[in-house]
């Protein structure tokens, strides 16, 4: 990427020697997002939906404008379909509890082997609470959801399919159209965990034809501690609250309470106000980017990396070899070398990568790996980052032998 774009990210601008290849864990914050947080906290800091003084009105306005921006980023029908949460994990847990409470024993939720633990464990907990059946879409040898197995997994008992938009380990993209078509035949709803997809451009939830979409701000150049759950209005309206407390009620009497309409019904307590404002600045910036060009560049870097990795003896690539089938996330294992050791040596070469099971142990088991090293590419990466990684890997493998 051009130096000028890299310079828009304060941490990268201040650390020109850093090769940051862990954006799948946390993307760097864009200057506009950081500025928006500081501006909000220094000029509009007040609670929302509670005060009538001018400062509180300004905070209200900024927060609700952030909701509108998130709605535009997702092409949602209405800002009322946007719920601010603390992150994708909270968004997924919200659905597992609130939508989950509308399910009954024997209903089926279908997830996949490729899920991050945050879209796996909440459904296991729901199974324990409600007696639902939990189905698992297997993955192919290259880590893609094996949708050929859908016919045997989906029937009228299936109420929800909740899967990743693209894997945080292999980058494998999900064939959403096929999934939605299968779901509609039996009346099931579809939730996408978009945590890894949002970093690579705005999404269109209406074109996707889905019912819920979850993502985190820190993975799309915004602040940490904020995320979004989008849900179709009629679905949200039919769901009971998850967390309860201030701001989400209609009326509380000593005997009982009633609930506010969505989205407030699902935003108990003080929300992450400045973080939402910062996230909106990041999303607004993203909407203004030229994504076909960015995708082409990310794809080239991904191909360059995969080509280089495949030349390393003893290295096994996880996931699809074709870069078109994956987001620019590339995981690999090297025979006899542990990812923590590899990443530790790479760090000495100013390379930031993650090693481990990536909170996706069922997927790792399905791919026949215990742990792996992951490089994730974002729009601020360039050829120098990829070459540094390939050079650093050569050094690391010699150092650790």
């Amino acid at each position: 990427m051009s130096a000028s774009l890299r310079d828009e990210f304060p941490l990268l601008a201040a650390a020109p020697q850093l090769h940051y290849l862990d954006s799948a864990a946390t993307a760097q914050i864009h200057r506009l997002a950081l500025d928006a947080v500081v501006r909000h906290e220094t000029t509009r800091r007040a609670n929302v939906s509670r005060g009538t003084y001018r400062l509180a009105e300004a905070a209200d306005l900024a927060y609700e404008q952030a909701r509108q921006t998130a709605a535009r980023f997702l092409n949602a029908n209405s800002a009322d379909e946007i719920i601010f949460t603390s992150g994708a994990t909270a968004s997924l847990n919200l659905v597992a509890h609130a939508f989950g409470n509308t399910l009954k024993a024997g209903d089926r939720v279908l997830i996949s082997v490729a899920e991050h633990h945050s879209n796996f464990v909440p459904w296991q907990m729901l199974r324990a609470r409600k007696g639902i059946e939990l189905g698992l879409i297997p993955v192919t040898a290259s880590g893609q959801l094996d949708l050929a197995r859908l016919p045997e997994l989906i029937d009228r008992k299936c109420r929800l399919i909740a899967v990743t938009h693209c894997s945080n380990v292999t980058g494998a993209r999900t064939d959403v159209a096929a999934l939605v078509a299968a779901a509609r035949k039996v009346g099931a709803k579809v939730l996408l965990d978009g945590a890894q997809a949002v970093q690579h451009g705005p999404q269109d939830v209406r074109a996707l034809g889905i019912d819920f979409y979850a993502f985190s701000g820190h993975k799309c150049f915004g602040p940490g501690g904020v995320g979004v759950l989008w849900g179709k209005g009629e679905l949200l309206a039919a769901m009971p609250p998850f967390l309860t407390g201030g701001g989400m009620i209609g009326e509380v009497t000593p005997q009982a309470s009633t609930w506010a309409a969505p989205p407030q019904r699902f935003e108990a307590g003080t929300p992450p106000i400045a973080q939402a404002v910062g996230l909106a600045a990041a999303l607004e910036w993203m909407v203004g980017q030229s994504w076909p060009q960015i995708h082409a560049r990310e794809g080239r870097l991904c191909e360059l990396l995969i080509e280089g990795l495949l030349r390393i003896p003893g290295l096994r690539l996880l996931g699809p070899e074709a870069s078109a089938a994956r987001a620019p996330i590339v995981s690999f294992e090297v025979a006899g070398q542990h990812p923590h050791d590899i990443c530790q040596v790479l760090d000495a070469h100013n390379l930031a990568l993650r090693g481990g099971h990536h909170c996706a142990q069922p997927l790792m088991a399905a791919l026949g790996a215990e742990v792996c090293t992951r490089a994730s590419i974002a729009l601020y990466n360039d050829e120098a980052d990829i070459q540094a990684l390939l050079d650093g890997l050569g050094f690391a493998l010699r150092e650790l032998a």
């Binding site: 542990h338 923590h340 050791d341 530790q344 040596v345 481990g356 142990q361 742990v371």
Partner: protein, 148 residues
Amino acid sequence: MNEGNSLYQDAIKQFAQAAHGHGQLAAAAGEAKLDNPLCGDRVGVQVAVASDHITAIAHETRGCLLCRAAASVMGLRAVGQDEAGIEAITAGLEGMLKNEAPVPAAWPELSMFEPARAYPSRHRCVLLPFRALLAALLESRRSRHGDI
């Protein structure tokens, strides 16, 4: 660019390679498995105990070089120790890593982990085998004495 990394000294690689104590015991008085949630590394430890002292130890370790080297030191040195001795060594090792405390004198090989002081996320890699051993000893004590 830093061309070296003192963390990965030859001693660590040699201890990891040697894997002292790797395997299983035919009969164990206590055993435990512990995971490192950060990376999924796992150490399983079995101990045989007589008169409150370790008479045999075996471990199965899946992990990074630091974890495997630490397990190897443990496998080499633990026999003859009692639970209090292992507690003291573990506390000494943790103090060395986290608080700049000196290397536990009784197990001088642990000095090879001194460079890990600079990497807090790796401390649990080094400590995991020792914590698994303590858990195995606790189980052994429970089964022998019924106390907690």
